[in-house]
């Protein structure tokens, strides 16, 4: 019997043991999801840190009721300022709209879609137009000049921004830079060993789960040996079974991970966090699927060895 036929037989035989197969698939999926979540966190923290590395971020609040023409002129000046990396501005109306969007699910009692639509169109807060309690704000990121020490530079920039006409408050976090520097150092020293350890754990869990599943087919392996089957005749279908389990489980885990990422994005990409949780890059997604599939195939071969 050809190897292809043996592989096909292994896949077809999976239906004979539905419960052990389902339990194994769930375990492989959950473990791959756990590994994927670790990668997702690492990827997003890394992205965020690299994005803000060497940058200083200030949140500027103007006084309530400031003349918006004057404020918008200041925003235009800020956007042209030397060393500027990013400027996000919010008019009081836009800030109120964001706030309403954030509050919509709670205030609407479940009518999330309608509330969001209404908030976006401005219908829900039309009555506040003339008396908006929110100030104009801007989130400004600067690239710190390489020749400057970060903290004194941030102090001077803080004073400069605080001195702008109509500005009531400026906030910034001087520890952000220290955190970023520390994180980069940590990534360089510990990330790869940690990922390696994580991969080992995933391998062991997936491997042992597949070995346990093979117990359901122990009699089959024994009988095949007794009737004179050569090792490859016994192992090939089991190997195919393991590969299909690994592939299906890891692809399913990617769908779950996408769902998790979409949910996290909707939860975290709101004021004041504005954290954009991105999905894994293609190469990491492919690596997750390939690693899980290879480990599952290998574990099946080892399990069928005796």
């Amino acid at each position: 019997m050809s190897t292809t036929k043996l592989f096909l037989r292994g896949v077809a035989d999976m239906r004979r043991f539905p419960l052990p197969q389902l339990c194994t698939l769930l375990t492989v999926c959950m473990v791959a999801l756990l590994a994927g979540t670790g990668l997702l966190i690492l990827h997003n923290v890394q992205t965020e840190v690299l994005r803000t590395q060497g940058q200083a971020r200030f949140q500027i609040y103007w006084k309530v009721g400031s003349d918006m023409t004057a404020v918008e002129t200041q925003w235009a000046d800020l956007k042209r300022a030397p060393g500027i990396a990013e400027v996000s501005t919010f008019t009081p109306r836009a800030a109120l709209s964001e706030l309403m969007r954030g509050l919509a699910p709670k205030s609407s009692g479940g009518g999330f879609a309608n509330a969001t639509a209404n908030a976006s169109s401005g219908e829900d807060f039309a009555w506040l137009e003339g008396d908006n309690p929110l100030p104009a704000t801007a989130l400004v990121s600067f690239n710190i000049p390489p020749s400057e020490d970060a903290e004194p530079w941030m102090g001077r920039m803080y004073a400069r921004l605080k001195g702008l006409d109509g500005v009531e408050q400026v906030t910034y976090n001087p520890t952000q830079l220290t955190l970023a520097t520390g994180w980069i150092a940590l990534i360089q020293k510990a990330a790869w060993p940690a990922l390696g350890f994580f991969a080992l754990v995933v391998g062991l869990v997936v491997g042992n789960t597949l070995k346990l599943m093979m117990l359901a087919r122990k009699d089959e392996v024994e009988i095949l040996s007794l009737v004179g089957a050569r090792p490859w005749f016994i192992r090939a279908p089991l190997f195919a079974n393991g590969v299909v389990q690994g592939l299906t489980g890891s692809v399913l885990s990617l769908f779950c991970l996408k769902f998790l990422q979409t949910w996290l994005r909707s939860v975290l990409d709101v004021p004041p966090l504005f954290l954009k949780v991105e999905f894994l890059p293609l190469w990491q997604s492919v690596a997750l699927v390939l690693c899980t599939t290879c480990v599952a195939g290998l574990a099946s071969l080892i399990a069928a060895r005796k």
Binding site: D219, I223, L226
Partner: protein
């Protein structure tokens, strides 16, 4: 002697074993259980079909060909195990209580089949507690085991090992 690599599967292809506990695959059909012994030998599917049907007919399992083995009675499972051992035309059949779950008629029929195989050159070594079975093969060489030791059979018993008459035993 220590067997290595493919020597063990090769030896097992010459020796068929019928176990007391059947060792059939419960979730597979009768046909699949019997054909598996031929599949591992790389026999073509046409030949498998022909040979399996012949042995199924010989062991009166035709009506149960496509039934799962976990739906069969003990006697039927025993016959599946016997069919699997016979379908490959082995040089040696080792049978541990093969008639243990069969009624008298089927047991008699099985012994006739064994005799037939023996005629074509297959050596059969069978363990049994059933003296009636021995009477159906009076020409067979008998070895009596008492507490694991070979004993002389009672005087006048058929086919005593002491008579050294190889009937069911010794490849032609």
């Amino acid at each position: 002697m220590r067997l290595r690599g493919v020597q063990l599967p090769e030896l097992r292809r010459k020796v068929a074993v019928v176990f007391q506990d059947f060792k059939v695959l419960p979730e597979r059909t009768v046909f699949e259980n019997i054909s598996i012994a031929l599949e591992v030998r790389g026999v073509s599917s046409v030949s498998i079909d022909k040979r399996v049907r012949a042995v199924i007919r010989a062991l009166d399992l035709e009506e149960r060909s496509y039934a799962r083995c976990d739906e069969l009675s003990g006697g039927e499972q025993q016959r599946v195990a016997i069919a699997r051992s016979m379908v490959v035309n082995p040089e040696l059949i080792l049978a541990d209580e093969p008639t243990g779950n069969l009624d008298s008629d089927l047991s008699h029929h099985l012994i006739d089949l064994f005799k037939q195989f023996n005629t074509y050159g297959t050596t059969i070594i069978m363990a049994t507690h059933n003296r009636e079975v021995l009477s159906w093969a009076p020409e067979a060489r008998q070895v009596h085991l008492v507490r694991g030791e070979i004993q002389a059979p009672p005087p006048g018993s058929p086919g005593s090992v002491l008579d050294a008459k190889p009937i069911i035993g010794g490849r032609a």
